[in-house]
């Protein structure tokens, strides 16, 4: 009885598998219309009960090499948390440049700067940087196994280093990333698509 009570207390509000109706109105002064939505993060893609992101892995994932952040002094004297391996002295490349010319950058170690548009909330294994050209395209950076992405990172700026890789991923995964993490989607309905990503070595979140 106590177990049931504890679980019931901890689980409010009640979870729903499907999204309830959401009212859309067009008031002249743009007043908000309350439309409470439950915990509508049901993922029916892939195996029943198994989220597509559970199958989103890459070789070498295992023990985290740098579990703690290193505190560094920024140029203005403030403290900055550095995650993963120390940065190398390499020139910065634009996210849009890597996305536009993946073949040119595949296998190369790059340094990139951008706004964090998404992160893996379950395992904290990756984060995404939005392209600086306002295209809305994104580049995913794998933090694992070097480090784990710190919580509350989405919306911040980040500097990251890593090796560029082009990989074929399931369309269902891309659709999951678009639906749950609000990243760019694909028009393809099934099969695999090529995606550019970075196997990260280190990052700083500002």
């Amino acid at each position: 009885m106590i177990l049931v009570a504890a679980f019931g207390f901890a689980c409010t509000p009640a979870e729903k598998a499907a999204e309830p109706e959401v009212k859309k109105e067009a008031p002249a002064n743009a007043d908000a219309v309350e439309a409470k939505v439950g915990d509508a993060t049901a993922e029916k893609d892939g195996e029943e009960g198994k989220a597509p992101c559970d199958k989103d892995t890459h070789p070498g994932m295992g023990k985290i090499e740098f579990p703690e952040a290193t505190l560094l002094k920024a140029k203005d004297g403030t403290e900055l948390a550095h995650w993963g391996a120390p940065f190398k002295e390499i020139p910065e490349v634009k996210v849009s440049e890597i996305l536009a010319n993946p073949d040119k950058w595949t296998g190369k170690e790059v340094k990139i700067l951008g706004n964090v548009s998404a992160m893996c909330n379950h395992r904290r294994g990756w984060f995404a940087l939005a392209a600086e050209d306002d295209s809305g395209k994104n580049l995913r950076i794998w933090a694992m196994p070097k480090f784990l992405v710190p919580a509350g990172t989405v919306g911040k700026k980040a500097v990251a280093q890593g090796v560029v890789e082009v990989r074929e991923v399931e369309v269902k995964l891309v659709q999951h990333l678009a639906k749950e993490h609000k990243l760019d989607d694909t028009e393809q309905k099934e099969g695999k698509v090529k995606r550019v990503m970075i196997i990260g070595t280190g990052a700083e979140f500002i």
Binding site: I2, L3, A6, F7, F9, A10, C11, P13, E15, A17, V22, K23, K24, E25, A26, P27, A30, D31, A32, V33, E34, A35, K36, V37, G38, D39, A40, T41, A42, E43, G49, K50, A51, D54, P67, N115, S117, A118, M119, N121, H122, A130, A131, D134, S135, G136, K137, N138, A151, G152, T153, V154, G155, K156, K157, A178, K182, L183, D184, D185
Partner: protein
């Protein structure tokens, strides 16, 4: 035998000690087990507001650009002023700390920590989506313990708890004697508790 009596007392006392953490681990375990069905860390409140296309919001040359090239191009070419106007439409006093295109059709304004309080503008639909995430305090606390997120000294305490659970399991098997004990009905239940998971592992998982 006196040892059985002693075992019973120890089982009782260790059981009381393990009660609190067991409840925490059960709640956390079930929550995480169903992670594909819900976000166990946060409840999400989402509000949709029809604010109109970029041309409608900003008017003038933006409306002309939108008529020629569509709402997305009009929004992209006027991001800074559009963001300011969207913020004004939210009616919030506290300003956003960052704003950028999160995906090709989604301009996001960030207010809270991480993505806990985000206003998304969808120019092609003319809709503003306000999404606020509220932490589930109790489950998050239980998860932090169960998943050992902090590591450090908790690792050792959790190991001690694991040993306590093992003691409860083993001592529980020996407390009762006779036809309801290990040599009787209890033995069948114990065997089933081992065989069933193995069969599931071999043939289903």
């Amino acid at each position: 035998m006196r040892w059985r009596r002693t075992l019973l007392f120890l089982h009782r006392d260790v059981g009381f000690f393990a009660f609190g953490l067991t409840v925490a681990y059960v709640v956390s375990g079930v929550a995480v087990n169903h992670r594909s069905h819900w976000d166990y860390n946060y409840s999400i409140e989402r509000t949709l507001v029809n604010v109109g296309s970029p041309g409608k919001i900003l008017g003038g040359s933006v409306a002309e650009l939108e008529a020629k090239e569509g709402p997305l191009i009009a929004a992209r070419k006027n991001r800074p002023i559009l963001v300011k106007e969207l913020h004004r439409l939210t009616g919030r006093e506290k300003t956003y700390y960052n704003a950028f295109w999160r995906s090709p059709g989604r301009l996001s304004l960030f207010y809270g920590e991480g993505d806990h309080d985000v206003v998304d503008y969808l120019p092609e639909e003319g809709m503003m989506e306000l999404e606020v995430k509220k932490p589930r305090f109790l489950i998050r606390a239980f998860n932090k313990l169960h998943l050992n997120e902090s590591r450090r000294v908790w690792t050792w305490f959790a190991d001690l708890y694991a040993i306590a659970l093992l003691f409860l399991a083993i001592s529980g098997a020996f407390i009762v004697k006779g036809k309801k004990g290990l040599k009787g009905r209890g033995g069948y239940y114990l065997g089933a508790g081992i065989v069933i998971p193995w069969l599931l592992y071999l043939f289903v998982l």
